[in-house]
């Protein structure tokens, strides 16, 4: 019946969307990683910030690669070769592509107040 056909098509579309959504969710992207200085007992010497938002990268880098995956030319080739023969080469890795520095206000070993910038401490973007 028409209704059954409609339901079937709608159901298929729904399932397909769900599958795509799941697949999209597993793609290489930035995820939260946070160290709370109070929880580890360092808030007595680290004045600010209260915690460290470091972030991390995880996810798949499948072929073909979307633009937002920030893939390098090498990653595209590696993914292509991997898709043809997975035993030959592993898939490309999901890694940080952009970092930013972290400012920390703390007391040093001689109780002097120090402000210091640390390079490449926070992941801003991930890519393949």
């Amino acid at each position: 019946s028409a209704n059954a056909n409609n339901n079937g098509a709608a159901g298929n579309k729904k399932r397909k969307n769900h599958r795509n959504k799941n697949r999209k969710r597993n793609l290489c992207s930035r995820h939260k990683m946070f160290v709370d200085f109070t929880d580890v007992g360092w808030n007595d010497w680290i004045v600010a910030p209260p915690g460290y938002h470091a972030f991390h990268c995880t996810g798949e880098c499948p072929f073909p690669m979307a633009e937002h995956l920030n893939a390098t030319n090498h990653a595209v080739i590696q993914a292509l070769v991997n898709s043809m023969n997975p035993q030959m080469v592993p898939p490309p890795c999901c890694v940080p592509t952009k970092y930013s520095s972290l400012s920390l206000l703390y007391t040093d070993s001689s109780d002097k107040i120090v402000l210091k910038n640390y390079n490449e401490m926070v992941v801003d973007a991930c890519g393949c």
């Binding site: 946070f34 580890v40 360092w42």
Partner: protein
């Protein structure tokens, strides 16, 4: 780290935010702390403080300016200042019990906590000035003068003064004037100052640079306030001022003179060199 702590690891799975709390073994936490301290360039964890820490407002402002500043560098963002590749600001308060400075408004700072590998690229002395009745200028915190003890005749009534910072090259043996070298001066026009209390910053990098090369040559600084008529407010004119300082509090008061050093720990240079070598190798 003697007992295990609850460590909160939070991460995201798909759309749901998951927070897992689990007990971490003291050894694991100690290893984590050791790695962090190594990253921070600290040999050991600072001792626990009994009194609350007083952080200078300037440093908090600088921290706020740096945070959220998405620059791809760890260099301090200080427009107009020649701090170059500095990524560290250290705070030093005047040593109240120092005997090295005997003359005038002497200030002495112990810079021994700056690690040898750090290169100091800039140094500033910040003093708070109080405007009294719009006519007199009293440097607060310089030898912690008790303002109530000031003789108004010796202060005079002026709208402007010149403040001179001198590096003591050779200290005086008695109460004579030491050998000094002027390193910075500021002209302060009180009529243009709206606030009663304000900070004045002096560039004292030449002195700090000399002290870093030879720590024994650190005899402190001498501050002189010069009135328009040429009268210098030195020990001779201010010897009646009672020196008052709370020697128990070494952490610094809000209005104490404070020295900030800007230094480069060299870590980023190593990273830059390593990256350049890696590129060349490839």
């Amino acid at each position: 780290t003697t007992s295990s702590r609850n460590f909160v690891a939070s991460y995201e799975i798909e759309d749901s935010h998951v927070e897992v709390t689990r007990s971490v073994e003291p050894q694991v936490l100690a290893r984590l702390e050791s790695q962090f301290l190594k990253l921070f360039g600290m040999p050991r964890r600072p001792s626990k403080r009994s009194a609350p820490l007083k952080v200078p407002k300037y440093l908090i402002d600088l921290y706020n300016a740096q945070t959220g500043n998405d620059l791809g560098t760890s260099n301090l963002h200080l427009p107009g200042r020649h701090t170059r590749t500095a990524n560290t600001v250290r705070t030093f308060y005047h040593l109240p019990s120092s005997t090295g400075v005997r003359w005038g408004h002497g200030l002495k700072f112990d810079l021994s906590s700056i690690p040898d590998h750090e290169k100091v690229t800039g140094a500033e002395l910040r003093l708070v000035f109080n405007k009294k009745n719009n006519v007199s200028l009293v440097p607060v915190g310089v030898d912690a003068m008790d303002i109530s003890a000031l003789d108004s005749d010796s202060m005079g009534s002026y709208n402007s003064v010149r403040v001179l910072v001198n590096d003591v090259i050779k200290p005086s043996k008695k109460d004579d004037e030491p050998h000094m070298f002027p390193i910075d001066t500021k002209y302060v026009d009180l009529s243009k100052r709206k606030k009663n209390s304000f900070w004045i910053t002096f560039d004292i990098f030449p002195a700090v640079s000399r002290w870093m090369e030879n720590p024994k040559s650190n005899h402190g600084l001498v501050i002189q306030v010069i009135h328009p008529n040429g009268q210098v407010m030195s020990q001779s004119t201010l010897k009646h001022i009672r020196v008052r300082r709370d020697t128990d509090n070494l952490s610094g008061q809000e209005n104490d003179p404070v020295l900030f050093t800007y230094s480069d720990d060299g870590v980023n240079k190593k990273q830059r060199n390593a990256k350049a070598l890696s590129r060349a190798y490839r």
